[in-house]
């Protein structure tokens, strides 16, 4: 299993990293929080920790810590629009249910 990106997500990640001017990777993860148990972490990464898993897809380096990987392995990161709003989506096969707004989830 691995973490993958859609073409749209990859394009936006590259643009945002370039605009930020530093860091070359994207960190994905989870933390326990929110109304439904866990919440996603989506951050720019400036350094890779020793235990981190590193994936690469479409030229984007993706870092996931081992604890988080259990919950999000197989995830495809997508980028989409809903009306005027736009942003990233986690298509995570491990999710059993999520809260109404989808900001937190349960496995």
């Amino acid at each position: 299993m691995a973490i993958t990106l859609t073409a749209a997500a990859a394009e936006h990640v590259m643009r945002f990293i370039e605009n930020r001017g530093k860091g070359e990777a994207l960190r994905l993860g989870v933390k326990t929080n929110g109304c439904s148990g866990m919440a996603y972490v989506l951050e720019f990464a400036d350094k890779v920790e020793e235990e981190d898993n590193v994936f690469e897809d479409q030229g984007v380096k993706i870092i996931v810590d081992p604890k988080s990987l259990i919950y999000i392995d197989g995830t495809e990161l997508d980028y989409g629009k809903e009306g005027l709003n736009e942003g990233f989506k986690f298509n995570n096969p491990n999710v059993k249910d999520s809260c109404g707004c989808g900001e937190s989830f349960n496995v």
């Binding site: 930020r20 109304c35 989506l42 990464a45 009306g83 005027l84 942003g87 707004c101």
Partner: protein, 625 residues
């Protein structure tokens, strides 16, 4: 499924905790809203992909749901057909009285019985500038909430650097009416600097040349280690891109030989003029055409050369504040690293050329000049709302005029000087003037002149409960503090007893740009007069202090220590001093004070001996050593 944005390392917010904040450039001609997404500041487009929202509001009816309005492009299109109900350039009327706004306005202004606020008569009722602006803000708020997918926590709204307190307050009121929480009002040029400075990270002195629709601002900023310091600001709040349109309008009216155009026609001419200005930025000539009604029409060509001749005096007018800002900042044009161009009118090639020549540098046009301000505001909003805890931006602004207080003799003692960066706190010590004085009136003033009567009074308060002491013994520490929002608080504390008193004032209260400017001009032209006046007043104050002290001494010890001849001599010399002090000759007063000193030297000596004798009475020599 919620849509997520990329956060800074370690900054992922808990679900439902991410705060949405926007920056709003509430412009005279166009308004914009911007927000930060995945660290990227962007203006937000409407459903048609348009970023700019023309600051135009058309009032239709007023029913139970409030005003029914059209805002933006639709209102702009309807403006020609419905000029009296369609309000443009409302920013010019914010916080202004009826007198200031009648000129160049096609609207029917009225004031209602119980208020001095000018209102525009429309089909939906009489509306104030604040209400019109609120409609624009409401439209931007709605757009942002749709685009960001949630309620806004707050907004940063930009205002021209020279907006006075009334104008700033009006802007805040409009935001409140629109249901926006204002995080802070920031100056437009400062926002532009934020947008540019942080993106390019280049240190040095930057000039922000902002020729917007209705206002011109020049700011000189210094960027060091990511901190912006505003060295100086200057501007003209009645000069902007609209004025370029107006000179073309006047030209059309003259060429087409139109007398007293009807509102509909005037609106049409203004539209044509604006189109011509935009077209002539890229083209050599432009054909203007008007529909005069009754199947009559008029058309004429305007060449770029002729257009430039028309607008040149206006652009040259912008260079005067540029010179003043340079002088205030104490820098030469060669110290300037670059010039940032802001505002749609800086697309006009002649503007770029003349500004480039003036500052001897090629102006920067990297970012869209229309969007720069909104983008900077959005960055600041994101910091203020707490989405970014590291890399905090520290924004430093300046006070436009010196702040100080009144001292004896009607003199202004400056505590915080003009162009001091804020936030700032300065303290100065003062003392009592009379023996046994238990209260002190503190009069806070603003201005550059030496005499109180030439400065603007901001506030008065009293410090009471000073323990009775001889004149000059009390130590009263007065602290002036200006916070990041430009609010001034003044506190006074008597150090030996700890009694305190304080007041909060708004430093720019009631001062219009014009007033600030003329106060500055006066301070330059009256500098020498002021110094002379100050010297005279100081001498007069010294004379009355001497008189005061001598009378007190005579009262106490005159009978005991002086013969009646000596008393008479001293009283006579006091009377002479009182009379001379009333005349306006500083030198004579000074000489007389010295003469009085001589006459009373013997008396002073005897008083000293007497008090030593009292202190020593009944003590043995051993105890003293």
């Amino acid at each position: 499924m919620a849509l997520l944005q990329i956060s800074e390392p370690g900054q992922t917010s808990a679900p439902h905790q991410h705060k949405l904040a926007v920056g709003i450039d509430l412009g005279t001609t166009n308004s914009l809203v911007a927000s930060l997404k995945s660290g990227f500041a962007e203006t937000i487009a409407d459903e048609n992909g348009q970023h700019l929202l023309p600051s135009v509001v058309q009032f239709q009816v007023n029913n139970d749901n409030g005003y029914q309005t059209e805002v933006g492009y639709i209102a702009q299109q309807n403006a020609s057909n419905d000029p009296m109900n369609t309000i443009t350039s409302v920013k010019r009327y914010m916080g202004r009285g009826l007198e200031d706004i009648k000129k160049h306005s096609i609207y029917d202004f009225v004031t209602e019985e119980d208020s001095v606020v000018p209102r525009i008569r429309t089909i939906a009722g009489n509306v104030s500038a604040v209400e019109v602006s609120a409609e624009i803000l409401k439209s931007l708020k709605l757009r942002s909430e749709e685009a960001l997918g949630g309620d806004l926590t707050g907004a940063v709204i930009t205002v021209p650097a020279y907006f006075d307190d009334a104008q700033r307050q009006a802007t805040k009121d409009a935001a409140k009416l629109a249901g926006l929480n204002v995080l802070r009002l920031i100056n437009e040029p400062t926002a532009a600097a934020v947008a540019y400075g942080l993106d390019t990270g280049s240190e040095g002195i930057h000039v922000i040349y902002d020729l917007g629709g209705g206002t011109f601002d020049i700011s000189i900023l210094k960027l060091t280690q990511g901190i912006f310091e505003v060295l100086s600001t200057a501007g003209d709040s009645a000069l902007g891109g609209d004025d370029l349109d107006h000179v073309i309008t006047d030209w059309i009216i003259e060429k087409a030989q139109i007398n007293e155009p009807e509102p509909n026609l005037l609106r049409q001419i203004l539209d044509v003029a604006r189109q011509a200005k935009e077209a002539l930025s890229d083209n050599e000539t432009y054909t203007l055409s008007l529909n005069l009604g009754n199947e009559q029409s008029w058309s004429s060509d305007l060449s770029q050369q002729e257009f430039e001749k028309l607008i040149k005096p206006l652009i040259r007018k912008t260079l005067t504040p540029c010179r003043r800002a340079l002088r205030d900042a104490g820098i030469e044009s060669e110290d300037i690293q670059d010039v940032v161009m802001v505002g749609g009118s800086t697309r006009v090639p002649l503007v770029r050329q003349m500004v480039g020549e003036f500052f001897s540098t090629e102006p920067l046009v990297d970012l869209d000049p229309d969007k720069v301000v909104a983008i900077g505001a959005a960055r600041q909003a994101d910091v203020l709302v707490g989405n970014k805890s590291d890399e905090e931006m520290l924004l430093l602004d300046v006070t436009p005029l010196s702040l100080g207080l009144e001292t004896m003799g009607g003199l202004a003692e400056k505590v915080i000087h003009r162009n001091t960066t804020i936030p700032v706190a300065r303290a100065q010590e003062f003392t009592t003037f009379k023996d046994g004085q238990t209260a002190m009136a503190i009069h806070v003033v603003q201005g550059e002149r030496e005499l109180i009567s030439d400065c603007r009074s901001l506030a008065r308060f009293e410090l009471r409960g000073i323990p009775p002491m001889v004149a000059g013994a009390a130590r009263i520490r007065v602290t002036f503090q200006i916070d990041a929002d430009g609010l001034l608080s003044v506190s006074a504390r008597e150090e030996t007893s700890g009694v305190e008193s304080s007041i909060q004032v708004k430093p720019s209260y009631g001062l219009s740009d014009g007033e600030i400017e003329s106060m500055l001009k006066d301070s330059f032209s009256y500098a020498q007069d002021d110094i002379d006046a100050r010297k005279l007043r100081e001498e007069q104050v010294e004379a009355s202090r001497v008189v005061e002290a001598l009378n007190a001494a005579l009262e106490e010890d005159g009978e005991k220590l002086l013969s009646s001849e000596e008393q008479a001599e001293i009283r006579q010399t006091i009377d002479e001093l009182v009379e001379i002090a009333q005349q306006n000759d500083q030198r004579t007063i000074k000489l007389k004070i010295e003469a009085v000193d001589k006459v009373t030297a013997e008396f002073a000596q005897r008083r000293m001996d007497a008090s030593i004798n009292i202190a020593l009475a009944g003590q043995r020599v051993d105890d003293i050593n």
